[in-house]
């Protein structure tokens, strides 16, 4: 009689290797162990370490406020000072997708923080050689009602991550979030961590209401350009925008707001000629999928041709600048292969697309996803899985 599987139902307590066991089949089928794979977007659950992170808040009064919250309010140990939005709790589709609810599997204590082991398990299961790890709710920090608290939390998180997580495994890298509310603090952050070998770029957490072209931010871009470090824009959801506030289902919010925040920043970036002003600065648009790219190319080209006087710094079409930027692959909208192929062609995906898993989010993509695309040749697949990232990040 054949054996039953050890886990009849996958839950939040199932071992990552077991959740992702089927991804190992792709490893054999496609020979993934022989391919250099960089995952440019994955996440760990920083709220599980929130008490430790709060300990890194520099402002003594704010830190005390948070510590008192954590002592006296039952739930504050994972939330104090944060702007965690209740809408985020819908991401797991009513616990239909348990790894989004949380990775609560047992992890032996070996001196490393639990998150290091969880990241390793995911890398091993998906044959990933280098994984760029980001937080989760901290990506919404741009919507915090108080900019001063947002800056303090971003700085505390960054220091905690660099000291506690990065030393855990040389395969773990990150692009640190910039405390964008305070341009001087952004420059300090770049100067402090920009030489760290595992900090391979910096990030604007995209869900925010800031014009990224404004003069006060240019010193940030100049600093990054001079150091040869890329700038990422990481999208996030918001149920509080005037647009998404009309919506009654998380599906709708997720479909729109993960894209529109990056569309907004990319539009400001191009129309204000930042690619011309910072020609050596590489930009990466993260976690918005691909379907928006050909739309933006056509839309911006169309408008630009009629209103050139409003974008006089441009020397090429907006779509030309877009082809000189980089994009992470997840969530790759594979529902119509002809449209996907046209998208790959429009964006020169062979040279601009960076594989990303987004693990452990509910809409993650395994590396086999790239290998299964029928119109790509071997070189294109290898570029997308790791070759392009090697170039962008100098790995």
């Amino acid at each position: 009689m054949p054996e039953p599987l050890p886990s009849q139902e996958i839950t939040t307590r199932t071992h990552t290797a077991e959740i992702l066991a089927n991804a190992r089949r792709d490893t054999e089928r496609y020979g993934l162990d022989e391919i250099f794979i960089v995952d440019v977007d994955s996440h760990h659950a920083e709220l599980n370490s929130w008490r430790d992170i709060i300990g890194y808040v520099e402002d003594p009064v704010l830190r005390d406020t948070a510590e008192q919250m954590m002592v006296h309010r039952p739930q504050a140990g994972q939330l104090a000072l944060s702007n965690y939005k209740a809408g985020l709790a819908f991401q797991d589709a009513g616990s239909r997708i348990p790894h989004q609810s949380g990775l609560a599997e047992p992890v032996p204590v070996d001196g490393n923080p639990r998150d290091v082991e969880l990241v390793r398990r995911a890398m091993d299961a998906m044959s990933i050689d280098v994984q760029v790890v980001f937080p989760q709710p901290m990506l919404e920090i741009g919507l915090h009602p108080e900019p001063g608290i947002a800056v303090q939390l971003m700085k505390a998180y960054n220091r905690w991550f660099v000291e506690q997580i990065l030393p855990g495994d040389p395969r773990i890298k990150t692009m640190l979030g910039l405390p964008f509310e305070d341009p001087a603090a952004c420059v300090e952050t770049i100067r402090e961590f920009g030489d760290h070998p595992d900090v391979i770029g910096f990030l604007v957490t995209s869900q925010r209401h800031a014009g990224v072209h404004r003069n006060e931010y240019l010193r940030i871009y100049a600093e990054l350009e001079e150091r040869g470090l890329p700038l990422g824009f990481h999208a996030g959801p918001s149920w509080q925008d005037s647009m998404t506030a009309t919506m009654n289902r998380f599906l709708s919010v997720h479909a729109m707001s993960f894209v529109t925040c990056n569309m907004t920043h990319l539009t400001n970036w191009i129309v204000n000629g930042l690619p011309e002003r910072f020609p050596g600065l590489r930009t990466i648009w993260i976690e918005s999928g691909l379907a928006w790219i050909p739309f933006m190319m056509q839309r911006l080209d169309h408008e630009y041709l009629m209103r050139q006087s409003e974008a006089p710094l441009l020397k090429q079409l907006p779509s030309d600048y877009m082809r000189q930027m980089y994009y992470t692959s997840q969530p790759m909208e594979i529902t119509d292969l002809k449209l996907l192929e046209a998208t790959f062609h429009a964006m020169d995906a062979e040279n601009t697309l960076l594989y990303s898993s987004d693990w452990p989010h509910w809409d993650f993509d395994v590396p086999g996803r790239v290998m299964s695309i029928p119109f790509l040749d071997d070189t294109a697949k290898r570029n997308i899985l790791g070759g392009n990232a090697r170039k962008v990040f100098g790995l």
């Binding site: 054949p2 039953p4 599987l5 009849q8 139902e9 009513g94 997708i97 348990p98 993509d365």
Partner: protein, 129 residues
Amino acid sequence: MTLSAPRPTSSVVARSSDVAEGGRYVVAVRDDLHIGLFRFRGRLYAYENTCPHQGGPVCQGRLVDGVRERLDAHRHSLGLAFDEDDPHIVCPWHGFEYRITTGEHPGAPRFRLRSFAVTEENGEISVAL
């Protein structure tokens, strides 16, 4: 000479008691073939534990009734409700749902689980492989 397709062989994969009414039982028939058995209103269903989306372990997901949206005579929405006649298995990787009774995605039937003929005799369950 014409070659006829090999006839499926029937293999015993579980005892009847392993699959409760309304429940599921996932077995490793071979290293590369895991099968989920489901029993709903007395009938057995057998599907490969590989999701047609990205290959996830679909049979190890949450068993939950399909969701319907109720409308009144004026087509106003009265909200959502579970349909007890239409249990679903939800792939834990990304949430694709499949009808236990057909193996089809309820919104896009071109996504369907690979199914196996299943028989039950003398307290044993067999699938045609």
